[in-house]
Symmetry: C2
Subunit: 308 residues, 2 copies
């Protein structure tokens, strides 16, 4: 079981849809999103994870306010920098994996930065690349050296997802990421077989294959969601961002033979049924092809109902 | 003379009014401000300076566009991080000097950052603190660990300017900074004796006293400028930001017994007479109480007239 042999077990903190800046002008709730983010980062430290994986929508606004961007930078500098050695190896080619970034390098591989806890993130639909230079807020964090921004695609026709390849002891992980794309377009690209996931050539069957995606999972119409059966069946675990309801306990898809974990947002943004439940993040442990997801309740989250 | 004994001589690159983002939507000139900033940073590297001192208005817009902020972060990471050891000591209390910052520490004193060339900057009238949290764009750069933002005052009634105290070999420097304040208000505060400059108690006469200020120097009306005679006469050199005309050669003020150097902007922002001259930055060398300012022409600057 994962967790028993620490040298071979990845420990990853999983969170998504943090929506920094949500309700920032509210006199009472204005800081809630930053408070939740701090609780998440603090959990990463407390559980001594190898890295933190975020599933998109770290920011609520495409152009976050100065206060929110500053608060985010400050938290990342406080919690993610430090002397803890990185316990895993990065095997794939950074210059390819991060070719969309001005610094195509992982922050913990930069000799000028002392990173204790790397953060890896894809973008969501709220913080997707736009405007001059096709940049998003994660580009600012990546270039500042605080986040590793992956899963950005530039082609509108054809997507090839190349995984980040990581190894800790005997455990090998292929981490696939795809930042948010308009559902209808991605749906169509899947139907036309224009989305492919590359696989490592060596020891093909030894990798734990994880995919982080930020799309509609629930069917809102014929084509504005991504059915699970569109995804490759060699995957072991899909981390599904965008949906705010916490369904973080991995759900088995018997047709595709993979698990799906939907962490849900760390802040309540609507009065819907799904958002009334307790919010959680996950501590994911992976050893070989086995994994265990442990739910961690978020204590600071204030719900939209009630009078906390 | 400064420059002869490198161990006792501060080498400082002086620039001001870089106005990142000026004309950024212009199809031809859009990148000019970033190009000029790169030339400035490159000069800092080439001349192996101890630090770079900026006199305000690094940004043209109070809320710089993502493209400009990203470009600025990228240049600072590229040029200011690295293995070069810092050759001077910082003697004053960082937690006081940078008490207005969330990380009240110089970037090169942070064990998690490997800084080769520190940048010190005050804010100007274009990039002054505003809005929630009273933050400015320099706060983002300071918190990201790329700039040391000083000279911010919070009181509207009374200003006490405490100097950063630096020592290199036998040379001691007291560096005073005052970020831009509305001219009329600052003028009135000076008249009412509400602006004071603190001086180190020990070896009072041994310090080279330098003041960086960002205000109107030219008289535009009775009170909307700061007359040089308002400034303390113990100063040795005043670096005057805000005025865009390059008058970087130090001018002697015989009444106050100090020199004033006005570097001018590194980008032409108006068609005025003063902006048609060649743009320069300065290489300032300070040894004991002596200094030398060497003009460095900026080669990439495109003027508003002509067809370069």
């Amino acid at each position: 079981m994962p967790g028993e042999d620490v040298d071979d077990t990845f420990k990853i903190l999983i969170a998504t849809d943090i929506h920094l800046g949500y309700g920032e002008k509210d006199a009472i709730r204005g800081n809630d999103s930053l408070v939740a983010f701090e609780e998440i980062l603090d959990n990463g430290k407390k559980h001594d994870v190898d890295f933190i994986l975020l599933g998109g929508d770290l920011f609520h606004e495409n152009k976050p306010s100065r206060k929110i961007l500053h608060g985010c930078l400050a938290l990342l500098r406080k919690y993610c920098m430090g002397d803890k050695p990185i316990q895993y190896e990065f095997l794939s080619d950074q210059s390819v994996d991060f070719s969309h970034c001005q610094f195509p390098i992982l922050n913990h591989e930069d000799q000028n930065l002392n990173v204790a806890t790397p953060v890896l993130s894809i973008h969501g639909n709220h913080d997707d690349p736009t405007g001059q230079g096709n940049l998003c807020a994660l580009d600012l964090l990546h270039t500042a050296g605080f986040v590793n921004y992956f899963g950005k695609t530039t082609s509108l026709e054809k997507i090839e997802i190349s995984p980040l390849l990581l190894q800790k002891g005997s455990t090998k992980m292929a981490l696939y990421g795809l930042g948010s794309i308009r559902d209808e377009r991605l749906h169509r690209m899947f139907l036309h077989k224009n989305v492919s996931m590359l696989r490592p050539k060596e020891d093909k069957d030894d990798w734990f294959n994880m995919f982080v995606i930020h799309q509609n999972r629930a069917k809102h119409g014929a084509t504005n969601y991504i059915p699970e059966q569109f995804l490759d069946d060699f995957l072991d675990l899909v981390i599904w961002g965008h949906e705010h309801e916490c369904r973080i306990d991995p759900e088995w898809n018997g047709i595709q033979n993979f698990y799906v974990s939907q962490p849900g947002s760390s802040i309540a943004t609507s009065l819907s049924e799904g958002e009334t439940a307790k919010k959680h993040i996950g501590l994911l442990q992976v050893k070989g092809k086995d994994f265990k997801m442990t739910k961690i309740p978020l204590e600071t989250v204030r719900h939209l109902y009630g009078s906390i």
